[in-house]
Symmetry: C3
Subunit: 499 residues, 3 copies
Amino acid sequence: MKRHFITAILVAFSVLTLPTFVMALEVSEATQTCLECHETVTPGIVANWQKSVHAKTTVVEALKKPAISRTISTDKVPTGLGKVVIGCAECHITNAKAHKDTFEHNGYQVHIVVSPGDCAICHPQEVEQYSKNLMSMAYKNLKGNPVYQDLMNSINAIQDFHRGKVTYAKKVDDSTEADSCLFCHGTRIEVKGMQTLETDLGDMEFPILKGWPNQGVGRINPDGTHGSCSSCHPRHSFSIAVARKPYTCAECHKGPDVPAYKVYTVSKHGNIYSSYATKWNFLATPWVVGRDFSAPTCATCHISLIANKDGEVIVKRTHQMNDRSKWRIFGLIYAHAHPKSSDVTIIKNKAGLPLPTELTGEPVSAALINEKEQQKREAEMQKVCLSCHSMGWVKGHFERFDNTIKTTNQMTLTATKILVAAWEKNVAKGLAQKDSIFNEAIEKMWVEQWLFYANSTRFAAAMAGADYGVFANGRWYMSKNIQQMADWLDFKLATKKKK
Amino acid sequence: MKRHFITAILVAFSVLTLPTFVMALEVSEATQTCLECHETVTPGIVANWQKSVHAKTTVVEALKKPAISRTISTDKVPTGLGKVVIGCAECHITNAKAHKDTFEHNGYQVHIVVSPGDCAICHPQEVEQYSKNLMSMAYKNLKGNPVYQDLMNSINAIQDFHRGKVTYAKKVDDSTEADSCLFCHGTRIEVKGMQTLETDLGDMEFPILKGWPNQGVGRINPDGTHGSCSSCHPRHSFSIAVARKPYTCAECHKGPDVPAYKVYTVSKHGNIYSSYATKWNFLATPWVVGRDFSAPTCATCHISLIANKDGEVIVKRTHQMNDRSKWRIFGLIYAHAHPKSSDVTIIKNKAGLPLPTELTGEPVSAALINEKEQQKREAEMQKVCLSCHSMGWVKGHFERFDNTIKTTNQMTLTATKILVAAWEKNVAKGLAQKDSIFNEAIEKMWVEQWLFYANSTRFAAAMAGADYGVFANGRWYMSKNIQQMADWLDFKLATKKKK
Amino acid sequence: MKRHFITAILVAFSVLTLPTFVMALEVSEATQTCLECHETVTPGIVANWQKSVHAKTTVVEALKKPAISRTISTDKVPTGLGKVVIGCAECHITNAKAHKDTFEHNGYQVHIVVSPGDCAICHPQEVEQYSKNLMSMAYKNLKGNPVYQDLMNSINAIQDFHRGKVTYAKKVDDSTEADSCLFCHGTRIEVKGMQTLETDLGDMEFPILKGWPNQGVGRINPDGTHGSCSSCHPRHSFSIAVARKPYTCAECHKGPDVPAYKVYTVSKHGNIYSSYATKWNFLATPWVVGRDFSAPTCATCHISLIANKDGEVIVKRTHQMNDRSKWRIFGLIYAHAHPKSSDVTIIKNKAGLPLPTELTGEPVSAALINEKEQQKREAEMQKVCLSCHSMGWVKGHFERFDNTIKTTNQMTLTATKILVAAWEKNVAKGLAQKDSIFNEAIEKMWVEQWLFYANSTRFAAAMAGADYGVFANGRWYMSKNIQQMADWLDFKLATKKKK
């Protein structure tokens, strides 16, 4: 009703004054050239861009806003970008020499893959912070870690069956890796020459890009930079609204290994989001709790600048998304304090493996943040919680979460003990036999214990999404899996004796 | 277009008459005191409340509405509540002596946990009806039933592996239970003394609450009442709209044990909801079929007062949610007629177990509603269906559902026979050996037969959500699980002989 | 802001001119008769209809639109349908003699089941195209194919356990089939006499319909036609908007066998849809990329007429949904080129089985489209992609998809080899023993290899929904399943020897 009343007032004024709402904005000559063809050739993305903030503002205009409302972090106007909107050319022909995928296209030196290096011209702080994320190193942390490379191969390699034995192919083709793990982790994009492609405007020359398309979080770009801002800010609207909604994170964080989105949807927060979000304001900066939204999304807790209605900052924006995270709860055998470096291939445990814990769970403490830093990050997260919850509530929640970290690690250790017994009793081949620790059935059951069930239980505890800690890949499966692993061991031992 | 036209008319009038749309509403002095700090300290929940019906009406105003439109069920004005809106103090400082968590807070006797006892001041009928739900007893029905307590322990207890044997810890810590089963079922909240907590306004004293936070449906509150109205009407908007949307039920009814929400999303009803719901009116009371919504949500069928556009009641509102349910289709080994009492710990079967059926499926009829009551409840449910479907359609649907109750029970019985054979042949330990019936692999397979697969198939039949009755945890898995249980038994028997 | 400004202008004008927005439309006398009772008896569906296009237009009006904007495909006015809106009677009393479910109802010859034959009066091209879909034959392709009939029975038949052996019931009741596979595939609806039913208006006579209710895609209707338009255009709004949203397809394409919707939700396209769809126009015809929507739904790629903002057609509307599909990626043991005929029961492989490939994967090429037709269909699909993506992007995507077709088929072949070994070594019974190939545990594991895991991986590749190609029923499970099948074979062989 209030809204209609405001509309009424606005209307009354507009009828009398006929103001001009549309501000004239300049499109650069180069972008104008792009648009002339691409409005016809790729109308979808041009239309997206036209609705974007990029198409409706200039750096000069953006810098006039108070700091708390800005979404750019440069404080000076980059050369040549002052008075034009951020169009095709402003991103695709910048830094031409740095990009190996730069090619001559209708008189311009265009590159295909816009990289964090390009975005950093206006958003340097976001790119700098993002580089401190594990995500920014998601390619190297996987492909550069022999243990994880082995896990990848055990999943992706073609298996064959011959004379009663299963074998794994020694090599996995690049296309499968790009379609599998590297879809989210990011591919390495390399220029492999030029090709002629048939287009609506006739045959044209384009670079041949290996690993393309890809928008993975740790993509290695042709200019050597890491990551892809469009993972979360999809082309060509690059909207803060999309990144603030949970569907963006769900692209990679929904599977049994990282069920963050699923847990969110069954949490009270997710319920409130689903019920009300069409009435919230996802474009407002700062993002004001209570006014713009009434329950958190992923971004609220992990990334966004949150303020109260008096414009006081509750938490600062951070693109280093572990800034408010005490634990690393997924992806590794045991949950542990967050690693210090985003490059985790540098870690070695006592057994010589590139892992942040021993196989028995003890953390490689030197590589991980200490308790003081853990407390600091937890306190930062709790500032968000305290916008709606009392300290007693928040304390109770986080104590339970810590307890669940401990118990899920214990249940992983039990599974590890069964696996080690299988190795020791020669019914499976592990480290001692210099065999993969991921390629046999018992090993795959062990992986599910931590990668699916313990992870799921921890996410449920972290985000209050009940069933994912019980029947939906939670404690039920942790418990059942241990019984099934023990049975497997029994069957193997019993049938082995007879051989 | 119509909407814009109405806006136009409203605007035209408002320009001419400048009416005052905002009605002056009194906030109590006590609530005003709360708000002075909490607007800054917990801005999110204050903002939620400000948008709520509670903040915009008084009991006196509410009682002026026709009975069919009211959402309060008291017919007289409770002492002191006539002319003020329902604010912080109206809920948090009422009945101070009944609440063990009452503490002195800035001059007021405040309690933290608002309970159904508090809500009953204005909503007595809803609280009374809710107490007849199994849900209101969800804590006791689990923790007070030795069989179910055993199931809980088999899921939550830490297991260890030592010398080839897996053992379960004898005790489960409270924190794990609260994070697991009791998250939905409800915890018992107990006051364990006082603590000093650091707040934005300096150190303050608060009660130490064990089992907090929790919003489970059968929560035992510090005033002795059962349940939590905020399970479905989340704080601090307490909206009927949220409770009417399916996301609320999904918080606890989405997992493999109770896939109600998942089934809904793939049903025709769920499709229509997802496609149109942003245009429906979830606040209207009575809720008029065709005008306010065009397909049912969970609440439509199970709880809400539904009327036609002439204001005739199709079905009455009920917070006893089994009022329209003939069968109890989940949570127990076999589907059966609904229990008479919400406290099901009083049931004993012939074998002496606190279960509503024998292990072989025969119902403990004395404890369950009879066929006449079943017919009555089915007829009540069908009144909702008949708003959009012909009697032939509805009859066909319910006949299929009854058949599926029967066949899923048969498939559970077959799984039970295999389990019993395993017990009898000493390859697993069951009742005769005074062992848990849930702790071994074969027992866990048996549990999945009914708790996951038979349940899922029944939900699919009840709500017309096809795939959950076939490949998505439905008949496919019932069928496969029996084959795998039989293989497990074969392997155990074959390897046992050799020992 | 712009929108408010437009509102303002509209309002200013409307205040001055008081225009009449509502056009007078004639409702037929027969429909008027229906409405008199049904507005009270089934208010929900009457209200849905009143909001539909059917209630607001006539064929004469519809034919005045330019061809590109029409949603009817007849080019002449059908007898008697020119000037009345399409109401109850226009569908339910048409072609009375063709419908075996026609009955006398308050003076009219009404039939219950409205069929594609009825819809074809105004939408002949849609019905004609739809008949070329595998979907239109979904009943016969299942029930008329002995291999698939056997799979159905292995899922639906009640199993029993007696003296250590599991047996399958020989017959499956119709009700179970209707509640299971045929829910989506469609039932055969047959008139089994008349019955008296109690209605709000007293006892009335209605036909007894076997197989009712059902809205499956290949339903056999009482007039002999195949399919149900309301599968995708739900009664009684029959909206193009609903069919264009992904929830419609999700009704049958969400389970582990066909995870299309799940994959969509984690794709970039699904993210953009979820973030923005409430602002898109799902009613516009033609559907203009960039203007009406900014990311595709299922319909966009597979069915809809897509145009650019200049009104140029990018792809034509097709209700033959394989028109843009090169491969058949689900439902069969191996992915293969699309079948030529929608009736696939006519196919026989070399082994004499009614399957489009051998058990070892070689396609029955004569029954499948050739490479030229495959290229044509791929090119048609790519026209949609190219609205937003460059040719290099699209080429890279489709190359990966083709590679995934190949690798998933290889992983299925490996599983088949293990199964064949089990048959050959007499630890399972297969074709040679004239036994079902679906009823034993190892056979069910084999089915999951292709029906769940290979399918899921292919959908993930086709629609860029990462995790469904890895941990969410993707490559992880293909890999693990092979190890578990090999272990099962080992256990069986080891324990068999001892017998």
